[in-house]
Symmetry: C2
Subunit: 220 residues, 2 copies
């Protein structure tokens, strides 16, 4: 498989973790979000991914045909279906819904508001200054994570990870959002459940190898 | 089942369509986004849904226990797992990934940017005027739908609907986003594939009954 990825793209980071957890061999194809006016916006990349967003996964179906997948959560569900073990979703419908809801609360309600293209719109179209831009970032990140802390703290299902004692789709999303939150100096002091799970994830090779600083295109 | 819903909430609208497609009996519990300072932000509602977002689904597992589900896409996957027919996802992993990616492109990359709380932040925190707010709305809606038009137009899998000739999770999301786009007078003239699918959906009772104007809490 080939994953078009940028080291700091958190949607790419989620899929890198899942590929590592599954032990699926893959090549990383770096796409630079800033160089050449944004390589993700190039006509070439858009033939694969018309949204011009990262990541894109190119999967070989075994017969030599290549298939292009977009949207990080759809990729991780796909990886879980074709390589069922270790499972990234629980076995019962209710528990699967719980894990998906944690992932979606990050993928729909936090991350999209802090995406590069959105921050650029704030600056270039709405003339928002740096302070207000960073306040926007922290607002959505902190309020979203605070609600997620409450959700996980009052549910019986979290263990070492968001669901039980093995990592799932939810952890793939949580770790990448905490990375963003720490980078923008969000206040995470009132989120002991999330930070405990984050720490547990950092003990696993699959998460460490997927981290931005350990990518072939990492910049200091 | 009970669905906490607001007639114009597009995430609620997605789940209403899915419940109708499955023929699952349910009660709608209206939550008013504007009255009483936003009923979705009340302490009572937040005991069910700590994000303070709509919808929330309360499912009875048959033994009398009630289970609270959040996030519209997690709910629809759940409904598809407990009531497999008619299927809202295809049978092969690649095709499931395709349908999920269409749904996620709307649920992650379009809708969250046009959510009420985001528009309020633009107005109240960033002093954005009405014109600029509507331009923001149309920008994300039109650019997102234009990319989706391209994706669907160049793929062989769409038929009467986003995938083949039966409605799926993707159509539940598409119709609700087109509703938003039309309400904000987005330019949809260059999106023949999306509009054709949208028209086909409108021929089905499940979609008509789920529409905002046909809800118990609809306002003229």
């Amino acid at each position: 498989m080939k994953l078009y990825s940028y080291f700091r793209s958190s949607a790419s980071y989620r899929v890198r973790i899942a590929l590592n957890l599954k032990g699926i061999a893959h090549d990383i194809v770096p796409v630079h979000l800033f160089k050449h006016g944004g390589e993700q916006l190039s006509q070439l990349y858009r033939t694969l991914n018309s949204d011009g967003l990262l990541p894109t996964l190119v999967a070989d179906d075994g017969s030599g045909s290549q298939h292009v997948l977009t949207q990080s959560l759809a990729m991780i569900e796909y990886l879980d279906e074709i390589h069922p073990m270790p499972a990234l979703l629980p076995s019962t419908p209710l528990d699967r819904a719980f894990v998906r809801s944690v992932a979606l609360s990050i993928a729909c309600d936090m991350h999209p508001l802090n995406n590069l293209r959105v921050l650029r719109y704030l600056v270039h179209e709405l003339n928002v200054d740096d302070n207000a831009k960073n306040a926007w970032y922290r607002h959505w990140c902190e309020s979203g994570l605070a609600a997620l802390e409450l959700t996980l703290a009052r549910d019986k299902r979290p263990g070492k990870f968001c669901y039980g004692d093995s990592p799932t789709l939810a952890d793939c999303c949580l770790v990448t959002q905490i990375f963003n939150a720490q980078r923008l100096k969000c206040d995470l002091s009132a989120m002991p459940t999330l930070m405990r799970i984050h720490e547990n994830c950092q003990q696993l090779d699959a998460f460490v190898k997927a981290a931005p600083q350990n990518q072939p295109d990492a910049e200091v």
